[in-house]
Amino acid sequence: MRLSGKRAVVTGGRQGIGRAIVDAFLAEGCRVETCGRGERPDGIDGAVGWTKLDVSDPGSAGEFASAVGEIDILVNNAGIQVEKTVVDSSDADWDLVMGANARGVFNLCRAFIPIMARGGSVINLGSISGRAADPSMALYNASKAFVHGLTRSIAVDHGPDIRCNAICPGWIETGMLEAGFALAGDPEAARADAIARHASGRFGRPGDIAAMAVWLASEEAGFATGQLFTVDGGLTAASPLRPGLFQ
């Protein structure tokens, strides 16, 4: 097992990518602590610790770190998406998106890095949307670009003790993605069009991202730090000019 004897904190482990990372870490022999804004979710493995936590709150993040103690792996996965342009975004939207996606990552890093074991690995969830823009996702896109910048800073400032990398997922089959298609005029056509833009011929699955997280957490990735790893089925390798998909 690739993570046996390691101790990890994964934020946002209730569902989707976070839950897949929790499960993959467990399967690799890691002790896992996760958290979310609500009560402990049903179905999560009994060996996993759960803390009710809002990552955007600095005080709670500090208390969480004190309670958990030394760890080897920190995965900053918790994130929120608001689908609006700059002009449509309210102050509350800013607080929500930047609070979780930007300040939350900062809070957890500041709280845990001082008590991480030497050789520890911080893994942040960035996004392809932090590198190129998805329409009407202004604050989300910007918050992920923040994560990319912070990832490099942590790698530079806290090496060689700690490695820090970001994973940039593309379109992953989660409740968030299904909700997006449900809003389309023709959900089936929208789905087919989006799949056709992937060299992989399918969307990602939470497990695809968890697989990268396991690798980045493991000793095999001992020389990997300060980088953004895109896992998107080839979506962003292709030009948007796809005459076969023009309507």
Partner: protein, 265 residues
């Protein structure tokens, strides 16, 4: 007063779609311009012969390139600006591309750039030595960053151009020679019309008008570029205003590559 007054420039592919626009813009800015190309009317169908002093040149032949630089030296005694715009596109996947086609694509797009730059260096160095500054502008492409379907050799050759641009900037910057690449997105040229009308693009069944209208809508600016748009950037990079600009890849694409794919939601 023009931004290139008194300068001498050589533009390869100077009778092609974008090359013509660069040549005529340079002339308006006061430069003496050699439009170097395989034929006076360019190698793709266009309108008439274009402007600039025509210089017959196959950029893949070292003897031709050396002779071209000798001519420039003999006639003008200087060269301040070199624009490497000559390029060809093979509209195929790697499986369909023959070795001959692959080599042809690299010979023009990459080896040609190497040869013209190498043989222009003595002239460019002299220009820089006179304090005028010398500028090389290479033609990269957004295809050097992200791929269009069925354009494998072209995409790879443009990636090579980007790396060569940085290498040249690094090696010859200390001599006062600036080297940059422009990376156009969709620009209305004979080359792109040929790509869109061809099988490789996957747009079969649609007319060129339908395809181009769709192309506009994929761009955040809802328009695609003209050769004149690219000439505006090339002109700036060639001019002394860009004296601190070197080693960079300048993407000019109406915002095309700033977005993740534009899904039909």
């Amino acid at each position: 007063m023009g931004t290139l007054d008194g300068k001498v420039a050589l533009v390869t592919g100077g009778r092609g779609g974008i090359g013509r626009a660069v040549v005529s813009r340079f002339e308006r800015e006061g430069a003496h311009v050699y439009a170097a190309d395989l034929a006076e009317g360019g190698s793709l169908p266009g309108d008439g012969h274009g402007t600039g002093e025509f210089l017959r040149l196959d950029v893949t032949l070292e003897g031709d390139v050396a002779a071209a630089m000798d001519r420039v030296r003999g006639e003008r005694g200087r060269l301040d600006v070199l624009v490497n715009a000559a390029g060809v596109e093979i509209e195929k996947t790697i499986e369909e591309t023959t070795l001959e086609e692959w080599n042809r694509c690299f010979a023009v797009n990459v080896t040609g750039m190497f040869l013209t730059s190498k043989h222009a260096l003595p002239l460019l160095r002299e220009a820089a030595g006179r304090g005028a500054g010398a500028s090389v502008v290479n033609f990269g492409s957004y295809d050097g960053f992200i791929a269009d379907p069925g354009l494998a050799a072209y995409c790879a050759s443009k990636g090579a151009v980007h790396a060569l641009t940085r290498a040249m900037a690094c090696d010859h910057g200390p001599e006062g020679i600036r080297v940059n690449a422009v990376c156009p997105g969709y620009v209305d040229t004979p080359m792109l019309r040929s790509f869109f009308a061809g099988e490789a693009s996957g747009g079969g069944g649609k007319t060129l008008d339908q395809l181009q209208s769709a192309v506009r809508n994929v761009h955040p600016l809802r328009t695609y570029g003209t050769p004149g748009d690219v000439a505006n950037l090339v002109n700036w990079l060639a001019s002394d205003e860009a004296r601190y600009a070197s080693g960079q890849l300048w993407v000019l694409d109406g915002g095309l590559s700033a977005q993740v794919q534009q899904m039909n939601l």
